[in-house]
Structure formats: structure tokens, C-alpha cells
């Protein structure tokens, strides 16, 4: 049985230009972490709040552990859904200690049982010594862990996390996401995690769901999302790709910088776009070349060059830092990928295998 099923969920705020959540269906098996990712305003947080019961859907159905909690005739309030939630600003109760915050969700347990549970969960998140501190006496990372412990203490069927790391600074964010993923996996928790940071989503999620403007663009494992993006939006959002226009031909795809030997099975001349990452392209200095180097960006272990093709199209190329080519040099750019590339026609992926040379 799935921990969470979402069927054709819709939510439209009055005054919104487009629906916040537009006909979304999703399933989440037990023990899995699902990352909802997308730019701000894409509907990922609204979806999470609909699952929590903090918003009422306009249409569709939500089931938690097989039980319907929201449908067109039924709405179970948040306190009866058995979900835990970690909020963006942590939302710790400032009038309660760390232990008090964690015990807040255990009001149905006996006093001794509750105390025992609080102690156990605080030591799981490594805060057993800070139980009597108030939220303002804790650091950002400690507050984060109290919020997690508080949400986990009542042993929810489902844990919901709304951009839980966005209020932390960069270093701490990296450290916390390792710790939190460790804790969730140790408890075998089922979790839905919302973020706008694609790197964080790739790290935290067993699977990813990419949102745009209320639509679900693609659901899949991190590798699938990254390497086999189904829409141009996903490719654009997940990896810093350049999109090189081309036309389908018998040998593959004809582009400004040569023919990519990846036949598509599309009629000759169909316009397509190839998603190129900086390691899929290469160049060599050539006074007769098809491009000019606009800028060299130092990235520590390597250099990234920005190229402008004669058509005006921009491409990024990654080179090891031992070779340095000056900006302004003319060069010949070419595709240098050992694997199939993502190709899109009208924004949707078209399949095709690269032919080895």
C-alpha cells in the first residue's frame, strides 16, 4: 500500500493568474523520500499544504495510507490526518523548551511515556543535552533538528517538509541535509520534501517530482530526471543546459556546429533543440572556426568558456584548467558527447540513440 496517493488534485486561488495546482496525480510508496522541486510559485508548497490539510482542494482526492482524507465530499482536518510537518521558518513554539516543543505532539501519551519518547528522539537528532533550552537559545541548525524531532515524535505516517533548509546559511545547509537524510533513512520514514534548489532535490529525494506553473512535468529517480528529462523545462531547470537548434536528417541532427549522429525517426527537416551541457561540447582554436570565445570563467578545478556562434547562439564549454585560451580567440566548436543527448521537439523529449563513431 502506498503511504500517499494524490489523484487529479486541483487548487485555484481566487485572483491567481493560473491554477496553483493543476490536475496533479502522484503516489508515494512506504519508506520513500519524494522531493517536490520547481521554481517559486510552481505549486509545490501548495501541494504539500493540501496533503497536510492546511488548504482545501477544489477538486481531486488525497489518500494517506489508503484512507481518503480529502475528496469532493470529505475533508479531514489537519489534526486528524496523522502527518508531521517541518515548516520553512521551523515554527518552533517560542514559549516552550526544546523538550516542550517535542512533547507538544504527544499529548495523548501518558506523562512518563511521553518523556521517554522525547528523550529518545532528542538523542536521535543529537540534542539530548539541549532539551531544556528555549528556541531563541538554540542555533539555526539546532532549531532545525528540534523541528524535525517534533514532527517525527508522534510517529506520523507521512512527514512533510516545506523548504526546511532555506533559512540556514550555505555551509550549514549542506551539513543539515546529510544529517536529516540520515535520520529519515534510519527511521525508515516516508517523507515529502519541498525545495526550489535542484541540487538539494537530487541529494534528498529517492524520487523527484518537477513542477512548473501548477503542472507536474516529470516524476522519476534523480538520474532519470537529470539525464532523461522528458520536457525542455525539466532539462533547463535541472541542469545548466544550452539549447542548440537543429533539424532532423537521415544521419541524425544537423546543427550549426556539425551533424550529431543520433537519428530521431522524425520527418526530415523537423526543427528540434539539443540540450547541451558544458561537458558535451568542446572547441579548438581555429582562425577559420564557427565561433568566438566571449569570456573565460574560472571555476577552480576547471575553466568554463562562453562561446558565441556565428548565428549568435551561446554555448558553454568546460575545459581542464591546464589549457588557457584567451577571450576574443576564434575557435571551432563541436559536439563531443559519448552518450545520447536529450533532444526536444515543441518542448517535449524525442527519443533517439547516439550511433558510435
Amino acid at each position: 500500500m502506498n503511504a500517499l496517493d494524490i489523484l487529479q488534485l486541483c487548487k485555484h486561488y481566487p485572483g491567481g493568474a493560473y491554477p496553483a495546482v493543476d490536475n496533479i496525480s502522484l503516489s508515494l510508496p512506504d519508506g520513500e523520500i519524494l522531493a517536490l522541486v520547481g521554481p517559486s510559485g510552481c505549486g509545490k508548497t501548495t501541494t504539500l499544504r493540501l496533503v497536510a490539510g492546511l488548504e482545501r482542494p477544489d477538486n481531486g482526492e488525497i489518500r494517506i495510507n489508503g484512507e481518503v482524507v480529502a475528496s469532493n465530499h470529505l475533508f479531514v482536518p489537519p489534526e486528524k490526518r496523522g502527518v508531521g510537518m517541518v515548516f520553512q521558518e521551523h515554527a518552533l513554539f517560542p514559549h516552550l523548551t526544546a523538550a516542550g516543543n517535542v512533547a507538544f505532539g504527544l499529548q495523548k501519551e501518558s506523562r512518563s511515556k511521553s518523556q521517554e519518547k522525547v528523550r529518545a528522539i532528542l538523542s536521535l537528532v543529537g540534542l539530548e543535552n539541549l532539551a531544556e533550552r528555549y528556541p531563541h537559545e538554540l542555533s539555526g541548525g539546532e532549531r532545525q533538528r528540534v523541528a524535525l524531532a517534533r514532527a517525527l515524535a508522534p510517529e506520523p505516517v507521512l512527514l512533510l517538509m516545506d523548504e526546511p533548509f532555506s533559512s540556514l546559511d550555505a555551509d550549514l545547509r549542506l551539513e543539515m541535509r546529510e544529517q536529516v537524510r540520515g535520520i529519515l533513512k534510519a527511521m525508515r520514514a516516508t517523507a515529502v520534501f519541498v525545495t526550489h534548489d535542484q541540487e538539494e532535490a537530487l541529494y534528498m529525494g529517492d524520487r523527484l517530482a518537477v513542477f512548473q506553473r501548477g503542472h507536474l512535468e516529470q516524476v522519476g529517480a534523480p538520474e532519470e530526471i537529470f539525464h532523461a528529462s522528458q520536457t525542455r523545462f525539466v532539462a533547463e531547470f535541472m541542469g545548466n543546459s544550452d539549447f542548440l537548434p537543429g533539424q532532423a536528417c537521415a544521419a541524425g541532427i544537423r546543427t550549426e556546429i556539425g551533424v550529431l549522429p543520433q537519428p530521431l525517426g522524425l520527418p526530415e527537416g523537423t526543427p528540434v533543440e539539443i540540450a547541451l551541457r558544458a561537458d558535451d561540447v568542446d572547441f579548438e582554436p581555429d582562425t577559420q572556426g564557427n565561433a568566438v570565445i566571449v569570456e573565460r570563467l574560472f571555476r577552480g578545478a576547471h575553466n568554463v568558456y562562453r562561446l558565441k556562434l556565428d548565428s549568435g547562439q551561446r554555448l558553454h564549454v568546460m575545459h581542464p584548467h591546464i589549457q588557457i585560451t584567451q577571450a576574443g580567440t576564434r575557435a571551432r566548436a563541436f559536439i563531443n558527447a559519448g552518450h545520447s543527448l536529450a533532444v526536444f521537439h515543441n518542448g517535449r523529449a524525442v527519443s533517439g540513440e547516439i550511433r558510435p563513431k
Binding site: 489537519p78 489534526e79 502527518v83 515548516f87 521558518e89 513554539f93 505532539g105 499529548q107
Partner: protein
Amino acid sequence: MGRPCNNESMQIFTSQRPRTAISPRLLAAAGLVALFVAIPFGYIIIRATTGGMEVWVRLLVSDRLRDLLLNTLILMTVVTTGALLTGVGMAWLTERTDLPGRNIFRWLLALPLVIPAYIGAIVHLALLRSRGGMIPQALASIFGEAVPTPSPLGLWGAAFILTLFTYPYVYLLSGAAFRNMHASMEEAARSFGRNSWQTFWQVTLPALRPGLAAGALLVALDTLAEYGTVALLRYETFSSAIFAQLYGRFDRSSAAVLSGVLVALAVLILWAEIRVHGRARFTQMDSGWRPAALLPLGKWKWAAFLLVLGVSSASLLVPVSVLTFWSVSALLDPQALAAVFRSGSQGFGNFAWNSLWSSSLAALLAVALSIPVALLAVRYPGHLSRFISRFCQVGYALPGVVIALSLTALGSQYLPFMYGTPLMVIMAYVLRHMPQAVRASQAALERLSPTLEEAARTLGRSSLQTLFQVTIPLVLPGLLAGGALVFLTSLKELPATLLLRPAGFDTLAVRVWVWADEGFYAQAAPAALLLVLVSAIPLSFLLRREQIFNERS
């Protein structure tokens, strides 16, 4: 009114999402509160408009209405101007210059709020009246003949007294604005080649404007509602005319017509006040704050010192000293002492106790009733919730005499079991002072992140449990501030208490008024002094919450 977002309140939580479904229970509770407020208001409007043509004709033909309107408007204009000049001037001197003793003056200038204007009027009348006044007598004994002194009676006397006891509103609002303004704003103006005078007019004053407008409108509303001072100083306004109709002639029809005009005037001012009120608080402190450089007064230093000393003497030091002097002489005089502690069956303890419990109960009720209204306005911003929250502030536009008029009529007809009990007095306090509670609760709730309530819901609490276990404990200081304000103003309320109290229900305010009216100043003084001291407790709690009394690190 047409903007979709609640820009009247400061939006701290930008992540606040649009809400669709208003909780029906909350809406019902807030609607009931609004209905409670609407009844006396609606009664006055209906009585005034359907009160009978001949009353309107009589009042119009005799020019009575015109005279009252002129009197009231002139007094309101003079007092508002005076309070603005005094308030801003004092705030500028204590916040922006190297005035000697500015830390003490900051308190002294805010404290006149504990002295009801009519008690100030009693003291100044005893000092200045031309026959038997303490100052004319003293001058006559020094010079051997009568020296002409300004009379405390009439327009200028009333304007002087009301200015002295209402300028603290402007002082507190503009003081906070002066203090919170970024020093860099004025420095930027100077760097663009403005001198300090131009900077004051082009940068400083525009930044103060919302605070000044809000302060000025509060002063205007207070002046409209004032009864004691104008009655004592023989200057007739709407309030005192209505009081006379009700108390003496029991002519309810013409009282209702006059009340209708007064309320219409007050509603107009209140509408303007609500429009600027939200913006008055754009003086938010933030991380980049540092104090502005103090302006050295140089040779003007001692002149400024004498000016500030003069204002705080007239508004605080002299009234308190005179009351203390009278109290001591009353306590030393066995006859007066006996009168103070035993007047008929009622003793001093009774008045104090009546004041205390009626004002406390009013504060408690006003805060409790304000919670659903404020919750609705803050958590479900929209046209309806904004209308309800604004409507519940109509009490500001209902002077004590008007509330008394409608409660007398409505109470005797529909609430016979309450009529003639102290509950009518308390109901008047709640109606009149609820706006302060609504504003305080709303300000407190705006500072509470809604995610705390949502967290409680996901941890298994129902919405009602969340209200009592999370929301109310966390906004308690703000609620208490609202309660303190209602307590303070109820304690001082005179006309509604005089008109609605059952026989034998004397409060401190009533006793002070009755004794002073009969000329027994020494006898009235201990009660007045106690009233001032009791008021000082909630006021000092409130002032400590004000930014200008918080020393920041």
C-alpha cells in the same frame, strides 16, 4: 478600500498565502461582536433621522445647531493645532537635540496621559479663576491691588487645558518616528546639498506625517467627546449640550438629533484616522538603525529647557503638586477627612473599589471580544473581514454622552434586568473603548507567524485548542497592552458613568467631579490623586512597550 491586500496592516510574513475559506465559526463570532457594536450606533442614527421634523426645525431656526457646530469645530481646530505644535516640538527637543535632562523629560512629557483633562481643568481653575483663584490672590497680596490675569474660562481656557492633556498622543507618535528614522536618510539629504532647515522640511517632516496625522485625529476625536472640561470651563460644545439635555431636561428627541450630528462629525474624522492609522506605523526598526546625531542647541539650550519645563509643569508637575497639597491638607483637617472617608453610606474604599472592578471587567470583556475580530482581520484578510474590523472601531466616534443616551433608551426598553445596574456602565466602557483593544490585538496577531498555528494543527490540536494553547499565550503581552489601555481610559471616563450609573454607584471619577463641582477641592483631591496613581500603573506598562522608552543596544 478597493485594494485586495490588507495594506492597512503591516505585512511581516510575506510568505502568507492567500486564503480561500473563512472559518464559519470565527466569522460568526466576529459578526456577533460587530452586531453588539452596531446596535447603539444604529439606534442614534435612526433616532436622529426619524426623531421628528419639528426638533430639527426648532434647532435650525434658533441657530442652536449652527452655534454648537461652530463652537465645537473651533475648539477642535484650536486644540488639534496646539497639540500638534506642542507634541512635535517636545518630541523634536527630547529626541533630536542636546536638551538638558532629556531622559527625564521623555517620561514627564508622556505622563499627562494619566490625568483626566477635567482634573487638570479643576486644578487650573482653582489656580487662575479671577475671583478667589490662588494666583490672582497671591499677586494681589504682593502688589496690594488686583493684577489682571488670563481667565481660564471660555474657548481659550478650554483649548489651553485640552491641549495640555492631549498633546502626549502626538508626542508619543512623533517621538517614535523621530527615533526610528534612519540617520542615513537625513545624511543623504545633507549630502545632496540641503541645509538642516531644508532637510527638516523636505525629509524629516514628510517621514513623520503619517504619525502626526494619526495623532492629530485622535486628539480631534478626544476633543469632540470631552465633557468635563468644557462643562467646567463654561464653553458649550455638542457633548456638553447633549449632557445638559439628558441630565436636566430629559429631552431625548433633541439630544438624539444633536448626537446624530456629533456622531456624523466623529465618523468623518474616524474614517480619516483609520485611513492613515496603518501607515502611521511604518517606523519599523530594522538592522541598519543607528541614532541620528543630536543637534547642539548652543545658546538656545536654556531657553528650550525652560520651554519644556513650562509644558511639563503645566501638564503634570503643577496638577500633581496641587492635588498632593490639597490631599495633605484634607488629611490634616478632621472635618474634611471624615467627609472623604464617609459620605453617606459610601466610603472612599467603595469608590476606589467600584472604579477598579468596573474598569477591569470592561478591559477583560473588551479584549475577549476583540480576539475574534482581530483574528478574522489578520488571518483572513479580505473585504468582509476588513469591514468588520473597521466597524468595530466605531466606538471611537461615539462620545460618552452619546453611548449613554442610546444605552439608557435601549436598556430601559429591552434589558430591564440590566438597566439600573453597574453592568450598563461597564457595557458603555466596552463599547467606547473596544477600538483600542481591537487595534492592540490586531497588532499583536500580525506579529505572530501563522505557521505556529499550522504547526499546532499538524501536531494534533483542533483550531480551538490551538487558539488557547498557542495563539493566546504567544500574543498575551499584546492583549494585555490593549487591556491596559481600555482599563486606563475606562477609569477616566466621566460622562457615561455619570449618566448611566445606578444610584449609589460612585467611582473615583464621579466623586472627584461631584465634589469639585460643589467647590470642595480639598475633599476631591485624595480621590483625584488616587485616580492618577492607579492610572500610572497601566500607563507605565504601556510606555515601556513604546520604542522611545526602550534603550536599544
